[in-house]
């Protein structure tokens, strides 16, 4: 079990992931969103590496490396190219106002703390609080997906939701490696598939605004 300084450092990394989630909700420019996402992935990588050290569980270093290489570098760079090629580096429209979204985000964090903290009295403090933070990141990712209309920022919302999942998985002691590997793998697969979608959607619609696509629903003919 972690004590003292180790505990505080683990907390620091997890909390910075959460704060960057709020950053994502607030940021309205696409490039800004990509940069914050890269930072968040970096924070997740640090959290994973720290847990690997603190729990003496070396497999987590691999998770950290995957988070660092794929999520903090490859994915943001690739999205940067997509955004440039599609000429959509203008401001993001949001459905709900940014302030309302942020307030709602705070409420979600409070909700997850209320859900997780009282129920897991048997487990160590760190795991418990880490889980509450991870759940908050997950819910904020979901909120971002709902509140944005632009497909790129929706995808980033989904990816930050997955950051929350990794945060949860590394915090639980001795989580078998299968699951972490699969999370990392699914990010890769999801990215490829998303990428394919983008190009096809771009070919057909010349816009990534999902709201616009709704008009083509089969039922409204």
């Amino acid at each position: 079990m972690l004590r003292g300084l180790e505990f505080d450092i683990a907390h620091l990394f997890s909390s910075s992931v959460l704060i960057l989630s709020f950053g994502l909700l607030y940021q309205r420019r696409l490039f800004g969103v990509l940069q914050i996402y890269a930072l968040q992935a970096l924070a997740v990588a640090c959290a994973a590496a720290w847990q690997a050290y603190a729990q003496a569980y070396p497999q987590l270093y691999v998770t950290a490396a995957i988070a660092l290489v794929f999520k903090a570098i490859v994915i943001p760079v690739a999205f940067h190219h997509i955004v440039l090629r599609l000429h959509i580096h203008r401001e993001i429209e949001t459905v709900v106002g940014v302030n309302m979204t942020l307030l709602f985000g705070v409420a979600l964090v409070a909700l997850s703390i209320l859900l997780v903290l009282p129920m897991t009295t048997t487990s160590g403090n760190l795991t418990r609080e880490n889980l509450a933070l991870a759940l908050s990141v997950l819910l904020l990712g979901l909120l971002m997906m709902i509140s944005r209309r632009n497909a790129v920022s929706q995808v980033i919302g989904f990816l930050s939701l997955e950051n929350g999942l990794i945060l949860a998985a590394i915090g639980v002691k001795g989580m078998p490696f299968v699951v972490e590997m699969s999370v990392a793998f699914s990010v890769l697969v999801a990215f490829i598939v998303f990428g394919m979608f983008f190009f096809r959607i771009r070919e057909r619609f010349d816009t990534l605004d999902v709201h616009y696509l709704e008009a083509f629903r089969g039922e409204r003919h």
């Binding site: 859900l115 997950l138 078998p176 299968v178 699951v179 699969s182 999801a190 598939v193 057909r204």
Partner: protein
């Protein structure tokens, strides 16, 4: 070699070979052959016992679903062969798309069979994710605006569902780890079920909520069903048959496994109310939505939401009788709905359209096909003597015994859906044939084979099947 290795190995091998094979007729035959061989291996499970290991196992619950899945996979491959011939002839499929289609078909079967036989909740999650990704790619196969939008919507909602399910899976491990210890053991079904009474009920509750919402999205339970009608309507029809007949069942199977865990724990919340709420809202919503459908595939997709709602409702009511009814309903709906989609695929090809208003008089222009569709609708509406009547009747009996008030949403939902089915089918099947009908050279054997089985289940259930259902119904709890 264990039959399990064959069951899982064949589809994987099939996918690899089909990805390389350029001739579409040969691919369609090979697709059928691979599915038939998988079915034979699945049937051998009845006689050859399989040793459980850390990753795979066979028990009373998954054995019938494995056989059902490989059976429907074979008949759908059969249907798909004639369906594709027509699509190639009218130029909707390119050779490259076909190669991709066949490889993805076998990969989907592989993923579903892994999900069903997995003894490990992490592995099951990976398998369901793979199944989702393959179906997303297949829904987008026609590359029309509608199909891309449908695939996109399915992908976004499916991914969110899957992410939430993974969080639930992590929470289950979190609950198990203090009791079972660290490592792979704490993810194995058998270990978890044995240790269930000693797990922290609060963590289990939270985990189940995430798992229900996550996998429930894949089941198509209201209010998480938005992807389902679009995905069914815009992809190739064999995929609609497999989605409705198999993938929805696999997702419901996952939810039920976790329900068993809660039932074995005792101190956790009774998940029944959640399932009843979601089940009855799916049933009612889909029942009313059926009236406004204009697209024939979308119409039957809503009917799938309705029937998954009925199954979820049955497991929510709980107890030996209702659980039995739910298990039977899952199996029979799978057979009936895939057969209906076979019929619908041929209907859409014969009439040259999916719009209900433009299809009429099928029993006159294509008697075998038209009457087949009528038979399917009679079955899906739950009329005797076909099998779904029996499962719905059993459910109603169980509900009346437990809490008669709960019968109200059930009866209303069934009645509303019946009205819509009767109204729409009347126009499609009877009256003057449409202005433009094409002759059809398709094989209708798979469809009538399914209806034959559904009829058989309505009048007689084999002993071993009843035994499995009873054993599983007891494990599923109240």
């Amino acid at each position: 070699m264990s039959p399990l290795a064959v069951i899982l190995g064949l589809p994987l091998l099939g996918a690899a070979v089909l990805a390389l094979l350029p001739w579409h007729r040969a691919s369609a035959r090979l697709n059928m052959l691979a599915s038939l061989a998988t079915l034979a291996a699945a049937l051998s499970l009845f006689v050859v016992p399989v040793e459980a290991n850390l990753f795979f196992f066979i028990d009373d619950f998954n054995i019938y679903l494995v056989v059902l899945t490989s059976f429907v996979s074979f008949t759908t491959a059969w249907f798909s062969a004639s369906y594709i011939d027509h699509e190639v002839a009218i130029g909707r499929f390119t050779p490259a798309a076909l190669r991709f289609y066949h490889a993805m078909y076998q990969l989907l079967m592989f993923a579903m069979l892994v999900a069903l036989t997995a003894n490990n909740i992490g592995l099951m999650w990976v398998a369901i994710e793979t199944a989702t990704l393959t179906t997303v790619l297949m829904v987008s196969l026609y590359r029309t605006r509608e199909s891309l939008e449908a695939a996109w919507k399915y992908f976004i909602l499916g991914s969110v569902g899957i992410a939430l399910a993974l969080f639930g899976t992590i929470l289950i491990y979190f609950a198990a780890q203090p009791t079972v210890g660290e490592g792979i053991d704490a993810l194995a079904w058998e270990t978890l079920l044995a240790a269930a009474p000693r797990l922290d009920p609060n963590v289990l509750n939270l985990a189940f909520v995430f798992l229900l919402v996550g996998y429930g999205t894949k089941v198509g339970l209201a209010p998480l069903h938005a992807w389902l009608p679009d995905a069914h309507a815009e992809g190739p029809t064999p995929i609609s048959a497999v989605l409705s007949g198999l993938l929805l069942n696999v997702a419901l199977y996952a939810v039920l496994r976790f329900k068993m865990l809660l039932a074995a724990n005792g101190a956790a919340i009774a998940p029944g109310r959640l399932l009843i709420a979601m089940g009855s809202s799916s049933l009612l919503l889909a029942g009313f939505m059926l009236y406004r459908r204009r697209d024939i595939k979308r119409f039957f997709a809503y009917s799938s939401i309705e029937h998954m709602g009925i199954s979820a409702f049955a497991f929510g009511v709980g107890g030996p009788l209702a659980n039995f009814a739910g298990l039977l309903h899952m199996a029979l709906h799978s057979l009936t709905k895939s057969a209906i989609f076979f019929a619908v695929g041929h209907v859409a090809q014969a009439a040259g359209t999916q719009k209900i208003a433009e299809i009429s008089g099928l029993t006159r222009s294509h008697p075998w096909l038209g009457w087949g569709l009528v038979l399917g609708v009679v079955a899906i509406a739950g009329l005797p003597p076909l099998g779904l009547f029996m499962s719905e009747f059993l459910l109603l009996t169980a509900v009346m015994g437990r809490d008669p008030w709960l019968a109200v949403p059930l009866v209303v939902g069934l009645g509303v859906a019946f009205g819509a089915l009767a109204m729409r089918t009347h126009g499609i099947a009877f009256g003057e044939p449409g202005r433009e009908t094409r002759p059809l050279t398709a094989s209708l054997v798979p469809m009538y084979l399914h209806f034959g089985l559904v009829f058989l289940a309505g009048v007689w259930l084999p002993g071993p099947l009843v035994g499995w259902f009873q054993a599983v119904a007891a494990l599923l709890g109240g």
